[in-house]
Each structure stands twice: as C-alpha cells, then as structure tokens.
Amino acid sequence: MTPLLSIRDLRTYFHTEAGVARSVDGVSFDIGEGETVGIVGESGCGKSVTALSILRLIQPPGRIEPGSRIEFEGKDLVTLDDDAMRDIRGNRISMIFQEPMSALNPVFTVGDQVAEVMRVHGGVSRRQAWDRAVETLALTGIPSPEERAKQYPHQLSGGMRQRVLIAMALIMKPALIIADEPTTALDVTIQAQILDLLLNLQKEFGTSILMITHDLGVIAETTSRVIVMYAGEIVEEANVTELFAHPHHPYTEGLMRSMPHIGHDTERLNVIPGTVPAPTSWPRGCRFFERCRYSWDLPEHEHPPLYDVGSNHKSRCHLAKEPQRRNQPHEPLVIREGAGAA
C-alpha cells in the first residue's frame, strides 16, 4: 500500500546573514491513510518547520532545498506550481493552528471565515458556502451554530474558536490535517474535549492527522505512531505503545523522565540539562552529545544513522551498537563543563 504522504530527505534551510540555519535536516517519514502520526520535540527542533514545509508555506529566507521530496497523492509537492499547490492547501491538506485567537481574522464573522475556504475551493454560491459552514460548525459541536456563525472571533471563548478553526480545516474533507499544537493555548479541560473531537471527526471522515506537539500526553492519547525530532532530525520513531514502553534514544528517555507522574512524590521535575544547539551550527557528530547521560567519545565524532532497534522502531543513537553503556549514566557534558557552556 502506498502511503498517503511520503516525505524523503526533507531539508528546509534558512539562509540568514548569521549563516545557514538547517532547521529541518534530512527528515523522512510516511503517513498512511487514516493514520495519526505525532511529531514531538522541544521548541526549535524543527517540528513546525516540517509542518509548514509540507504546505510549502516557508517564507524567505527559508527554502526547501533541492533533492527534498514530499509525495502526496502521487504528486511531488516540492516541485508543484503555485496554482496547483494552492489547490491542495485547505482542500486536500489543511492545517489547524496553535493560537485560536490570532489564527482568526478579527474583522470577519466566523461563519464568513469558514465559508471562505469553501468559496476559495468550491465554486459554490455564497449561500451554499454559508450553509455548509453552518453544518460544519455544528459538526464540531458548536451549539446554535446559525447564531454563532454570525459572531466575531472576540465574542467566542478559546475552545469555541479552536472549534471554528477545526471547522475551517475540515470543511473540504481533506485527506490530511496537520494540527500544529492544537491544544497548547487552551485550558486543560478544553484540551481533552478538542482532542476527542479531532479523533471522532477523524474516525468519521477517515482523515489522516499529523499531530505536532511538545506534549507527550497529547501524543499518548491521540497517535498511533510517534516521531521524535531533535535538532532538525528524527532521532526516534516507533509505535506509540512501543515508544512509551521502551524509549531507546536518550533524548526520548529524557523527555519521558521530565514528565510529572501522578503518585510519584518528587519535589522537582527532572529536566534535560542544556538547550538545543543553534541551527546554524549543529554539532558534527551526535547532535545530542553534550546533553546526553551516556555520551562517550564515539558520538562526538561520528554522526549516528537511524538504527533499527526493534520492529518498526528506529533510533539515532550509538547505544544501538553498545547497549551495555546504558548501565553507566553520568553527568552530561554541559553540566561537567559548567552550565551554559554549550
């Protein structure tokens, strides 16, 4: 079965005066039909740039480097002309943004904005588009959608606005929805509702979802396969149960250790020491080297490939070759050389 979306060696570089920022640096993965794939990682790891690259919304000085391939429904999105690309956006692939306030235009009613997507793609009348917009708003669980559609964004609560954004993403029944931190800006109670809504709609329409988040909780609840990104690369990829049961990469391990656990009475949360290095100067060897609890000489000099470490489980860590080193954790280099030395 050919996957719906197939990304091969995606490299998105920003050519700035401070140097070339290799924000996404050789990323490859597939999304099957109806599948939910999560990308997780901390700020600056390249997950949002990956999402924007799929829709080709990278603004100069950024660009998708030649040789990258994004195959979707038999077309290479990297080389598609602008008109054809516009036809895909919002129609076959749509996106849900993080900030439900700023992603809506403050001077139009929400109904107008949902209907507009239909007008851009549909070749339908104003009336038909409006009716479909109201239907779709109803689908996202907005009560009295006819009246709500006539309101402006500032008259709705955050959860409501996120539902409107979901309606906008959904109205054309796209094959793929990219959700970029769809719940980050919401209250915890609303978060759960919005995730439920997304999953229900996905079941109903068979849409694939690419869920981008830094929240492992969201990943665990919603996705079937997880991609962990660090410093512009995929560092681990596995099914969700496998990943949570046997995290392989020390970065993934660190992410999980830094989650609070109910019942564990720890005073302080664990953190991964140090920060992501600057994308203009990724370390030559392993990019996680300085922050790693198991690092030794080899990672510093040799860039690790994605090793197979289980069934459908890949990890970009030399531990795959020398697993016994996992028994000798130590202080990471950033701490040994003083905080901020990285």
């Binding site: 516009r86 996106m95 943004f97 809506l104 235009n105 001077v107 009613t109 959860g159």
Partner: protein, 296 residues
C-alpha cells in the same frame, strides 16, 4: 459526536454581531463631546446639501452693485453683502456645500492613492518596498502647501475638478505610511498564514484579509484629512488661487473682503466661524475614533 460542551456555557448568551464600524459609531454616540460634534457637523452638512432650498438669494447674483454693496448685517441680509452686492449668507451656505464637497472628494482621492501605494509597498516588501518608501520620503520632504502653490501658479484658472485632484494627490503620503506599516505588521499575523494554509491567493489575502483590518486607521485618517483639506482650500482661495469666481467657498468669501477686513468684518467673521466649527467637529470626531480603535 462530542456534542454540547462545557466551554459553550460561558458565552451562551448570543450577542448581536458587531463590526468595527458599528463599534466606532456606538462609542462616538456614547461620548458627550463627540455626540455634540456629530450633531453640529450634521447640521452643517445638511445646510450644504440643502443649499438651493434654504439660501435666501442666488449666491452669485449682483442685484445692485452700487446701492446694495458692502451692506452690514441686517434683517434682509443677516450676514451683510459683499463688494459686488452679493448676499454673504447665501454665499456661506453655498460655500458649505462646495468646501465640504472638495474636502470629501479630495480625501477620497488621497485614500485611494494612499491605500493602494502603502498596501503594495507593505505587502511586496523587500526591494520594492525600499524603493517605494524612499520615493515617498522625497515627496514628504516637500511641504504640501508649497507643492500646491507651485502647481496652481504654474496652471492658474484650474477647474474645480482639477483642484480636487491636486488637493488629493498631495495628501496621501502620510496615510500610505500608516497603511504600509499596518500591512507590514499584519502580513505575518497568524490568520494570514492560516488563510494561506487554507488555499487563499495573495490577491485574496490582501483584499479580503488585510485591507478590512485597516478600516480603523483609514477612517481616522480620512476624518482628520477632510478637515485639513478644508483649511488648505480656504488658504489657497484666500490667496486667490483656489476656487474660481463666481463660485463661493468659505475661503474665497474671506478673500473678497480681505482688502478691507477692518470695515467689512462680516465678510471674514461668518465664513470663518463656519470653517472653524467644521474643522473642530471633524477633529473631535477623528480623535474619539482614534481613541476607540487604539484602545482595542
């Protein structure tokens, strides 16, 4: 279906829709000073619109250039008469019509140019923006009055239409800077990226998403712009190069009595009062609109 949810309860009382313009009008009506200003301006506009119905005399008729000239205010001529024996009240009433019309039309010309130029520069960005803005800097460095004087001295006896166009063409520089700044700030707003992500074209984004967000600063600039044009027109007419005779504008009524201003005081007092009132009310309205929009 996930259906009815908790977060809906908070905003369940469905409020009526409110656009930025409606908001502006509502807030203006709430404030006393701007309510008075709106009323006074309304009366002056009405006077201008209804000029042919309420003016007691033909504004350019010279009934008796010997006996009826330079008459001080009286029952028959509440604002007196001018050196050509024309009724000043009728001329002021017709002047309201012409001065307001020139103010509004010239401002429309300015808006069209200013918005088009500013939006293009802001949205295009990069080299195009830099070139357009340097050109604008050059234009801005020439005082507006000087520019107009140059034009009007070079081409005397311009028609009203050309006068309006020239007034408009010299008035858009400042506005286009505002528009350009706003577009620049808005084009990286998330809702613009969102619109792009949903397949909207560049033209659609500019027209549908960016320009409507500029309504507030444009309305403010227009209100203040009309006041400015009225003063400018009066200044030019006062110098004898504005509105041609025998048409009446507030500026050229004052000009007609200018050489004997101490004796024919009614010729500058009454049109002057109208002008000051109009400009003041426009400024009050402009300022309170600015308050409304900038607070948000």
């Amino acid at each position: 279906m996930p259906g009815q949810t908790q977060d809906s309860a908070r905003t369940d009382s469905v409020k009526p829709r409110e656009s930025p313009l409606a908001l502006g009008v509502r807030v203006i009506l709430r404030k006393r000073s701007s309510r008075v200003a709106l009323f006074v301006l309304g009366v002056i506009v009405l006077i201008g619109v209804l000029a042919p119905l309420i003016a007691p005399y033909d504004p350019s008729a010279q009934p008796d250039i010997v006996a009826a000239k330079d008459l001080p205010p009286s029952i028959a001529h509440p604002f007196g008469t001018d050196p050509y024996s024309r009724d000043v009240l009728s001329r002021v009433i017709y002047g309201a019509r012409l001065s307001l019309m020139i103010g509004i039309l010239a401002t429309l010309v300015s808006l069209t140019f200013g918005v088009a130029y500013g939006a293009t520069a802001g949205y295009a960005g990069g080299v195009i923006d830099a070139i357009m803005m340097r050109f604008l800097d050059a234009l801005l460095s020439i005082p507006r009055l000087l520019l107009l004087l140059g034009v009007l001295v070079a081409w005397p006896h311009l028609s009203i239409g050309s006068l309006i166009v020239f007034l408009g063409l010299t008035g858009w520089f400042g506005l286009s800077r505002i528009v350009r700044g706003q577009v620049l700030a808005l084009k990286h707003a998330e809702f613009v990226t969102a619109a792009e992500a949903l397949g909207a074209s560049r033209r659609r984004i500019l027209v549908r998403h960016l320009l409507p967000n500029l309504v507030s600063p444009i309305v403010v600039a227009a209100t203040l712009g009309i006041a400015h044009v009225i003063v400018l027109e009066a200044g030019l007419s006062y110098l004898g190069i504005g509105v041609p005779q025998p048409l009446a504008s507030w500026g050229n009524i004052i000009y007609d009595g200018a050489d004997q201003i101490a004796r024919l005081w009614w010729m500058s007092l009454f049109p002057g009062l109208f002008m000051v009132t109009t400009v003041m009310t426009l400024n009050v309205l402009g300022e309170s609109l600015r308050d409304v929009y900038e607070r948000r």
